[in-house]
């Protein structure tokens, strides 16, 4: 009578992958149906880029010289990627407050697929965000001065960071009461994280406390790494803090650390929240 028979252990991994694929697809359908939700990775990046480059850019003088436009694109990408990670928290929280999760609980599926599928879909929106910032940059005359491989490596670091950050935000989405509170708390955490960094202004003239935070901020590491890999002005290179001296290694370590901490934590929290 039943079609679904006990899957053999060899099929189990394939089934898990299929579960992730199905849920990623589901989240992408959601995004396609509600394109306005995407404004934080489509309209916002264009708006931020133009505002920061033309409003701030006119007043910022980079230590060591260089064009603010070329300096700012990596920072703007960092800003957009970091703030849009909130989407994971909001999306997951929305799901948890609708009945569809109750349905998932009754299915013989891989439970963590809900989280992996969410993070995969959010990675694709982060990729879209990256593309839009890059194109906007190119339009206003940002140019990388490095090999194609090096430029791609810079973008890859951003995407890895975005993916790692989305697991942190996933935890937030699971513990928050609803999408509104997830968004509220997310903003309070992510906005300072994005701003107290070397993204939009050089850290050299910040007050000591902020400067130390900015120099060790993972967002700064990723931004400095991208500037380094793209051959753009990188005033942080003269700062003695270890992450600013080794931005590529530092951003890799930060991303891996975030993943190692938050992926298991999110799985645990999700399991706890969905088991009575």
């Amino acid at each position: 009578m039943t079609i679904a028979t006990l899957p053999a252990p060899s099929r189990r991994l394939g089934q898990r992958f299929a579960d992730v694929l199905v849920l990623t697809g589901r989240n992408l359908v959601h995004i396609a149906r509600e394109p306005l939700q995407l404004s934080d990775v489509t309209i916002q990046p264009v708006l931020f880029t133009l505002l920061f480059v033309y409003v701030f850019g006119s007043g910022v003088v980079l230590p060591g010289g260089g064009s603010y436009k070329e300096f700012a694109i990596a920072g703007l990408l960092a800003l957009n990627i970091t703030t849009s990670a909130m989407g994971t928290a909001v999306g997951l929280s929305t799901d948890l407050n609708t009945g569809v999760i109750d349905r998932f609980r009754t299915l013989p599926m891989w439970r963590a697929a809900v989280l992996v599928g969410r993070s995969a879909a959010d990675l694709s929106t982060a990729a879209l965000c990256t593309l839009i910032v890059a194109v906007t940059g190119l339009v206003i005359a940002w140019r990388p001065h490095a090999s194609v491989l090096s430029v791609i490596a810079g973008f890859a670091l951003f995407l890895l960071f975005s993916y790692a950050l989305s697991w942190g935000c996933g935890c937030l989405g699971i513990v928050s009461k609803g999408p509104e509170s997830a968004q509220g708390i997310g903003l309070v955490i992510l906005f300072p994280l994005a701003i107290v960094s070397n993204g939009l202004v050089p850290t050299q003239h910040m007050p000591t406390v902020l400067r130390v935070i900015a120099d060790w901020n993972p967002v700064s590491a990723v931004t400095a790494a991208a500037r380094h890999l793209w051959g753009n002005p990188n005033p942080s290179a003269t700062i003695q803090a270890w992450p600013m001296q080794h931005p590529v290694a530092a951003s890799l370590l930060w991303s891996i650390a975030l993943l190692v901490i938050f992926a298991p934590l999110a799985t645990l929290l999700y399991r706890r929240r969905t088991t009575g």
């Binding site: 039943t2 679904a4 199905v22 849920l23 009945g99 013989p108």
Partner: protein
């Protein structure tokens, strides 16, 4: 699924705690609140749930199309759930629970909030499923629903089982039928004329035109009553002998009318009928 505080349960021979995955593969669940994705279309919902239940893509598509046809949702298959009516949503929810043809099905108040036509339609769907060999456990607060659909009824009041049996069993347990007589005009002698045939006090209403009393149902009671009243010179418009309904059973068991629990909220305290069929 939730973990029990105490005790044990087996579904289709599998322990719900130790063999949760095997249980999940054998059951279909339709909860009281819609557990479908509002943003996806009906078809997308079914295919998603089928895939997550271990069906291959093609199997899931074929089964989804089958169920959409069976539940009269083929025309709405590619519309977003948001645009579905309450009845359509319930049917889709039920279809979602049937993707893998589970041998055991749980339905939590499947017709709550539906209009009478959708309700009858849902009943027919449920009857067909049971006729097809599915074991069904359904909870309901509608006693007529339990009467219509159940082979076995368990009445739960404030978390405790207070009665169990077939609908006929339960009705017999709680006694007999009710006699209702409507006279052409009120007559003070009517109560007295009924006295020998009833099993309790006679209640009057409508200015004495209508008389109600509990009776022990027996053959020819209506004729006997009409003859007795006729002999007393009383003209009768209408005589009815009501067999006990589950409402009467419920009232007898809990000491309050069946409408009451519908107003209580919170799942632990409400009075539910668990209906099992196989």
């Amino acid at each position: 699924m939730s973990l029990p505080d105490a005790g044990w349960a087996r579904v289709a021979g599998h322990d719900v705690v130790r063999e949760a995955a095997a249980v999940q593969r054998n059951i279909g669940v339709t909860a009281q609140d819609a557990t479908v994705d509002e943003v996806l279309t009906g078809r997308q919902n079914l295919v998603m749930i089928g895939r997550l239940s271990g069906l291959r893509r093609r199997q899931a598509r074929v089964r989804a199309a089958e169920l959409l046809d069976q539940f009269d949702l083929a025309d709405a298959a590619d519309r977003m759930l948001r645009q579905y009516s309450g009845g359509m949503r319930r049917r889709l929810d039920l279809a979602a629970g049937l993707m893998t043809r589970p041998p055991v099905l749980f339905l939590d108040e499947p017709t709550t909030g539906l209009d009478p036509a959708s309700r009858l339609r849902m009943w027919n769907v449920i009857r067909e499923l049971v006729a097809g060999g599915v074991t069904l456990l359904l909870t309901t607060q509608y006693l007529d629903e339990a009467d219509e659909l159940a082979d076995r009824i368990v009445v739960i009041d404030h978390g405790h089982v207070i009665a169990e049996g077939t609908p006929a069993d339960l009705k017999t347990q709680t006694g007999g039928a009710r006699l209702e007589v409507t006279l052409t005009e009120a007559n003070p002698g009517a109560s007295g004329a009924l006295e020998p045939y009833v099993a309790g006090p006679v209640q009057l209403s409508q200015g004495g035109r209508r008389l109600r009393a509990p009776v022990r149902s027996g053959g020819g009671l209506a004729s006997t009553v009409v003859r007795a009243l006729d002999a007393a010179g009383i003209t009768v418009d209408d005589v009815e002998v009501h067999q006990p309904s589950l409402d009467d059973v419920f009232f007898a068991l809990t000491g309050r009318p069946a409408e009451m629990p519908a107003e209580t909220t919170g799942d632990r305290d409400e009075t539910d009928l668990e209906v099992a069929r196989s």
